[in-house]
């Protein structure tokens, strides 16, 4: 069994239901994302079009994040899921440097790496991932890509030539596919990130990795001080610093 994902971008209407469902199901803290829906505007007025691309971990068959993890916190499950054991993670951020898709974040509450797990805990109890269940147009298709009769396999067969993965040149063999995408939507270098064009105005780079309020010294003191002092206003604090972002952001 090898679990895989397929998103039909021609169906996706950008409602962000999956994004929210993922946040709630997995208690993803503010300023972090396992799944996001990216809006890209294409064309020149009046010939314009908005595209929506849900982006999550690809659960690569040859995962650079798993390879670089020094303590096997990132590991493969038998069903192909690239899972993470946060109690083992040392927070070296090697995986964040290795994942070619920027799918991993440093959880600001636990100071350990985290990412989409294909909702491994739900799969274990026979449920579908939260983002699949919530999608009103069934643009997220999930299932066993080694079973020829599964919905996802049939969908892939039907769309053959139109099935794409992100950055195939990285030889990561993603198990996450897209239908209805193009270079402009799937290649991050094929679209511009300009200040002032985004609804998240002026935010191009996150200022911190892990907890913004947790200094290096705090990391050593944390086991003794407990987590009482930690707060989760990273996002609010980020808004206050927008000037720094635009100066340092390089965009």
């Amino acid at each position: 069994m090898k679990l895989g994902f397929l998103v039909d971008l021609s169906l996706c209407m950008g409602c962000k239901g999956c994004e929210i469902a993922c946040k709630v199901e997995n208690e993803v803290p503010l300023s972090s994302w396992r799944l996001r829906v990216k809006y890209i505007d294409l064309g020149v007025f009046p010939e314009t079009k908005r595209s929506f691309t849900p982006l999550r971990c690809n659960h690569c068959e040859s995962a650079p994040c798993e390879r670089i993890c020094p303590v096997s916190a990132l590991h493969y499950l038998e069903n192909g899921i690239v899972n993470i054991d946060s109690s083992r993670c040392i927070g070296c951020a090697g995986c964040m440097m290795a994942c070619p898709y920027g799918a991993i974040y440093m959880d600001p509450e636990t100071n350990t790496a985290d990412k989409c797990t294909y909702c491994a805990h739900r799969i274990e109890s026979g449920m579908m991932p939260a983002c699949v269940v919530v999608c009103p147009v069934e643009a997220n298709i999930f299932g066993d890509i080694e079973d020829d009769n599964s919905h996802i396999s049939r969908y892939i067969m039907e769309h053959k030539g139109a099935v794409q993965v992100r950055k195939p040149e990285k030889h990561t063999s993603p198990t996450h596919f897209y239908v209805g995408g193009g270079n402009q939507t799937l290649n991050p270098l094929a679209h511009q990130r300009l200040e002032g064009f985004s609804l998240f105005n002026d935010i191009t780079h996150l200022e911190h990795v892990g907890d913004k309020h947790h200094s290096i010294l705090d990391r050593f003191l944390a086991p003794f001080a407990g987590h009482a002092k930690l707060n989760n206003d990273n996002f609010t604090a980020m808004q206050e610093n927008v000037e720094t972002h635009s100066k340092e952001g390089g965009h």
Binding site: R36, V37, K38, Y39, I40, D41, L42, G43, V44, L55, P64, R67, I68, C69, P70, V71, S72, R88, C89, I90, G91, C92, A93, G94, M96, M97, A98, C99, P100, Y101, G102, M106, T112, K170, Q184, P188, L189, A190, H191, Q192, R193, L194, F197, S198, L199, F200, I203, H205, L206, V209, G210, I216, R219, F220, P223, M238, H245, E248, G249, H251
Partner: protein, 316 residues
Amino acid sequence: MVENTIHATQAIVTLDVPIQGIVWGSIITVNMWAKSIGTGVVFLAAYLLYRHKKESMPNLRWIMPVIAFIALNVFLLFTLIDLHQPYRMIHIFTHPHWTSSITVGAWLASLFLGLVTVLLLIGVADAFPTLGGKNCKLSALARNNSAVYEKIMPFLVFLAIPVTTYTAIIMAQSSARELWQAPTEVMQMLWAAFMAGSAALILVSGSWSKEARKDLAFVLTIAVFFSFAMYMSEYFFSFKSSEAEATLAFVHAGGAYNVEFWTGMTLGFIIPFFLGLSTIKSDNITLLRLAAILALVGLFLVKDVWLKIPQMLPLS
């Protein structure tokens, strides 16, 4: 950052999350820089001991392990403080994952530091016979095993090769950052070790023979030249990957890190090359020391830029 947009499609992101930004920052630069010194002095000491009599470098036997010991501890300290869960560092030893060069590197570096500590104890105990007084068992043990120093040295030199280059493999395993390619990074790490090692020893070579110092000046000059040549060819001619090209085009265009890169290049490579070249002939200790200090400063700046710039790129 530069994108390969097609004008007709005018693809512009209108809603997205912020990019992660710099994940590995200056703490990792200090880590790499200090490791270059720690391993570089071992390479240089071995070379000098092969070429010259011990008497022409009277303090080398003890000062080399002292420098290496300090530098390696700085390296390990900065490795530790960069971890978001520093106490779990122990997991690298209790749950090692051998495909990761972080794991392999941590094990090798720990072994390397252990051997350097042995050299330090023997070297210092021999050089300062009154140290620790008559009753100090540790100095007595070190002095009684003085010959171990020369036996360990060849292993240490061989071990210094993977210890100095494993970071290059970590960078190569960081497949999200196309700028870092294993062959060039391995060579850059070796040149950095020769640069930093010769520079550090130049600073303590006041009492050495002219010939030994000339060798240090020679190694420094050669190392900065080849490292500079590699940086320049990467900086201007990285056409083969669109990500590396986009990363560098952003720096070329005067973006953040352009000034730091060229300051580092000028201070750490161009000036030390000419200073080193002139001192090979003239044995001007002051100029050579200046070259050494500049090389150490410039190396830090350039490593810092090279570490950070590929992290500016959006990955998805």
